[in-house]
């Protein structure tokens, strides 16, 4: 078997990448989660990271967001080094980023509309009435009726919460959006609705998107490019249309969902 191929970082134009990762490493105790990640994401592009459960996809996103601090490496956003930023400097960077969390992470003490408008009211200190109007527009965009605006998150189904999370992620019109497993736990139709929403909203915003998913239908639909994370490294990066015939045994096994292949054998050998 050949070793993991070196990541092909495309987008080698002169414009600096929107997000640029170099040698990012992160471990928890003895558990090495990220082991040298190099990745460029160009402005306006949608990149999807795939990979097995527990391979560190969420950790990767959290490092870029500054919620976790990588042990080593550099993460640049718009050419600015963001590792180690905190306080106001970090807030300034994050003001350009919208994030949909894996579990939606809605504030359960606030009604839906305040959740969506949170970044506008608290982060930007806007007026509540203006923020509410913007929140209603966002809810409308993700296909939720006006009456949910005054519900609390606990009164809604998982799919509705995901959509509220999506509305919150795009409310402040960010130019970078992160989606952590946007379709997990949804029925296939709702999943497709969410995929369409992501494509529509990112295209509309002209935003750069970094998404995580296990769902290949979703990955090929929302991604321009796909990267596969395995054992702390990006073992394959390529155009979304090539993912089903990547020539990489690990990727093949993953995208076809086969039980037997290099991934299981190596996992058992650990």
């Amino acid at each position: 078997m050949t070793g993991p191929t070196a990541p092909k970082t495309t987008g080698e134009t002169n414009a600096p990448p929107k997000i640029r990762l170099r040698g990012v490493r992160k471990r928890f105790g003895a558990n090495v989660v990220l082991d040298g990640i190099d990745l460029d994401i160009t402005a306006g592009e949608s990149l999807v990271v795939i990979g097995g459960s527990g391979t560190g996809k969420s950790v990767l996103l959290k490092c870029v967001l500054g919620l976790l601090r990588p042990d080593e490496g550099s993460i640049e956003i718009d050419g600015e080094e963001t590792v180690g930023l905190s306080g106001r400097a970090r807030d300034r960077v994050n003001a350009h980023i919208g994030m949909l969390f894996q579990g939606a992470a809605l504030f359960d003490s606030l009604p839906v509309w305040e959740n969506v408008a949170f970044g506008l009211i608290q982060g930007r200190r806007g007026k509540r009435e203006d923020a509410r109007a913007r929140a209603m527009a966002c809810l409308d965009e993700v296909g939720l009726p006006d009456r949910v605006a005054d519900l609390f998150p606990s009164e809604m189904s998982g799919g509705m919460q995901k959509r509220v999370g999506l509305a919150r992620a795009i409310a402040a019109q960010p130019d970078i959006v992160f989606f952590d497993e946007p379709t997990t736990g949804l029925d296939p139709i709702m999943a497709d609705v969410i995929n369409d929403l992501i494509v529509a909203t990112t295209k509309e915003l002209g935003a750069t998107a970094l998404s995580i998913t296990h769902d290949m239908a979703s990955a090929t639909k929302i991604g321009d490019r796909i990267a596969m994370l395995y054992k702390g490294k990006l073992i394959w990066v390529g155009a979304a249309k090539d993912v089903f015939d990547s020539g990489n045994a690990h990727v093949d096994q993953f995208v076809h969902g086969r039980a037997d292949g290099p991934i299981t054998q190596e996992a058992e050998a650990d």
């Binding site: 500054g66 919620l67 894996q102």
Partner: protein, 257 residues
Amino acid sequence: MNVLAIVGRVFLTFLIQVGRLSIFTGRAVGHMVRPPFYPRLIGRQMVEIGYYSLPVVGLTTIFSGMVLALQSHTGFARFSAEGAVATVVVISITRELGPVLAGLMVAGRIGAAMAAEIGTMRVTEQIDALSTLSTNPFKYLVAPRLIAGVTMLPLLVLVGDVIGVFGGYLIGTTKLGFNPATYIARTAEFLEVIDVVSGLVKAAVFGFVIALMGCYHGYYSKGGAQGVGAATTNAVVSASILILILNYVITELFFAQ
């Protein structure tokens, strides 16, 4: 296993905890005294701590005042000093029982609630979501609770003092045969400002400690429902112990000669 290694590890863990708590406290106080403030959130916490704790604090202090009057009467009767009951009640309540009992009660109510709420927000990534929405969790979650704790506990204790003294008055006048006017005069006669003030200072410190422990344990909770449960217990236990220790320290500072 090597005993020294175990002792060393326990000691290191302890130091790490102390360091983490110190940093947390420093950051929390920094955000507590610097704008911007969140008046709505501060107000909500004040109502939660001040108003909704009134029944619990009122009940504990009134019965403490009553039992204090009964017990001191029996004691002082042995050397014919029953007249001192009113004075003993008011001094014990304002200096010690008011702040300590209110502190312990509020630690159970509010410390636990804060740890559970913030802990749940931690494990469901709501705290991470706050940061991504350019809102500092210390400013938004911790500072309002500390401000409310420090300001509301003294008020609560002041009300508790009055109710406790009233409890003593009830027993004194109905069971122990004091003349109401005499009892009130005796209560006021030997009471000094420092008695009440020291109690209120204690209350402010306890309010800070309760909110700090609730926020700290909630903020660092991990591991789902079990972790939140542990955080809640730790918040109440550590706040209660700290209240009793600090109660001694503050008394020493105020009254040691």
